[in-house]
């Protein structure tokens, strides 16, 4: 499955973008187009997840997965913080800011992972979209607590920070689209499927081409990254993702949903969390947390992590359990 994942068009377009950036090509996707596609992807993911839950109804597995996602998002920054302080040798503020990214999730990693799992006959349950939305923000709170709350000279008013944390665009769009899909159901979704379902993979390819360009260019401008922080950025998704898969299987989720929980736990945010951290912890280096999550962890998950989480959920962990 790992090799199969690498040969998917979405991953190949990511690699093409990365190669173009490394070769210093002038290839570029306009920022506004990339932003628009990211909104489209979130709407599509939310709608499809809501539509599927409308079919299956609210299940015990959905509650279990939601609870597991919340707990993971709150707690994953703790070991990450320790690892970043010790192995990464980061100061408290930077370690807390980076740890928050690793407790939160990457929507595009989830979208790509879901497509790869679906292709391998392991489609995750529709409710995993709700789990994705639930896991966006708790890690931010943990990260701020680890940094001992706001810096005294922060520009952020406390109310504004809470607003930014809980009402950020990606959470609103994901949850809102999920609820619309839930209300509309499969029948209501049929008329808009030509826009939100059929072109999804193609749009994901365009977006990942841009992500390849961004990730590689950020790696080329890697002033903030050291060998130590890059190594931690490779280790954290493996540890967190394994924990997510093991937890998912132990809680009785199907292999696809357990793999998706592993993908969520192993991914790191680069959309919702950076903006909040820039406001709340201005002393933290954005080049560091964006470099680690976007230039190291994201490509790792796309090329190795997703295949590994799927393989672990489908074959290894059930075998260990007997």
């Amino acid at each position: 499955m790992a090799l199969d994942a690498l040969l998917q068009p979405v991953v190949l377009f990511f690699l093409l973008g990365a190669l173009a950036a490394f070769a210093r090509s002038d290839l570029a996707i306009p920022e506004a187009v990339a932003k628009g596609i990211s909104l489209y992807l979130m709407m599509s993911i939310g709608l499809r997840g809501g539509g599927e839950v409308a079919e299956t109804g609210f299940t015990h597995d959905m509650l279990v997965a939601g609870g597991a996602g919340l707990v993971l998002s709150f707690l994953l920054p703790l070991p990450a913080f320790w690892l970043l302080r010790t192995a990464g040798r980061l100061d408290r503020t930077n370690a807390a800011a980076v740890a928050a990214h690793y407790g939160s999730v990457s929507v595009v990693t989830f979208a790509t992972g879901s497509e790869i799992l679906r292709h391998a006959g392991m489609a995750p349950a529709g409710f995993m979209v709700a789990v994705l939305a639930l896991m966006e923000t708790p890690a931010i709170i943990t990260g701020l607590l680890l940094a001992r709350a706001q810096n005294q000279d922060s520009l952020a008013p406390r109310g504004g920070l809470l607003h930014e944390t809980f009402l950020n665009g990606s959470v609103i769009l994901l949850l809102g689209s999920f609820l619309i899909g839930l209300v509309a159901g499969k029948a209501g979704m049929a008329p808009i499927a030509p826009v939100f379902e059929v072109p999804f993979r193609g749009m994901l390819c365009i977006f990942l081409l841009d992500m390849g360009l961004i990730a590689a260019r950020r790696l080329l401008d890697r002033r903030a990254l050291t060998i130590r922080t890059a190594a931690v950025a490779l280790l954290l998704p493996l540890l967190n993702g394994t924990l997510g898969v093991v937890l998912g299987v132990e809680l009785g989720l199907d292999a696809g949903s357990a793999a998706a929980l592993g993908i969520l736990a192993g991914s790191a945010s680069y959309i919702a969390v950076p903006a909040v951290m820039r406001l709340a912890l201005p002393a933290a280096d954005p080049g560091l947390y964006l470099g680690m999550s976007l230039a190291v962890t994201f490509p790792f998950n796309l090329t190795v992590g997703i295949g590994y989480y799927g393989w672990l959920a489908a074959h290894v962990w059930p075998l260990i359990r007997g």
């Binding site: 920022e31 506004a32 990339a34 932003k35 990211s38 810096n151 000279d153 520009l155 952020a156 008013p157 504004g160 930014e164 961004i214 260019r217 401008d221 002033r223 680069y270 959309i271 950076p274 903006a275 909040v276 951290m277 820039r278 406001l279 201005p282 002393a283 954005p286 080049g287 964006l290 976007l294």
Partner: protein, 104 residues
């Protein structure tokens, strides 16, 4: 000959998430009018930067205001201690404006 009036021009280059707070500080200092300008990229003390609409965390915006000297001084006094920690640039200069009532 057209009459012109002396005013202070203030420019702040800051990361996009900080802009709403800068606008609030400006309003507290009595600066009620401003313009926000998008940027494409550049090279600064910390190296190259470029527009970043994906996360928005490092997308830079230029805050531009033209105001009277008292309001400008109050704004600079409030913002100056935060420039280093928040990685912002603040520039102020003298300008001559036409229709001075537009630049209180």
């Amino acid at each position: 000959m057209t009459n012109t009036t002396h005013r202070r021009r203030i420019e702040v280059l800051a990361d996009e998430p900080l802009i709403s707070a800068i606008v609030r500080i400006a309003a507290d200092a009595g600066i009620t009018h401003h313009t926000l300008l998008p940027t494409l990229g550049g090279v600064g003390a910390h190296g190259r930067w470029r527009d970043d609409q994906l996360s928005g965390a490092t997308a830079k915006v230029m805050f531009l205001a033209i105001t009277g000297p008292d309001h400008a001084a109050a704004f600079i006094d409030r913002l100056a201690p935060l420039l280093e920690s928040h990685h912002m640039l603040l520039m102020s200069s003298d300008v001559e404006v036409v229709r001075n009532a537009k630049f209180d």
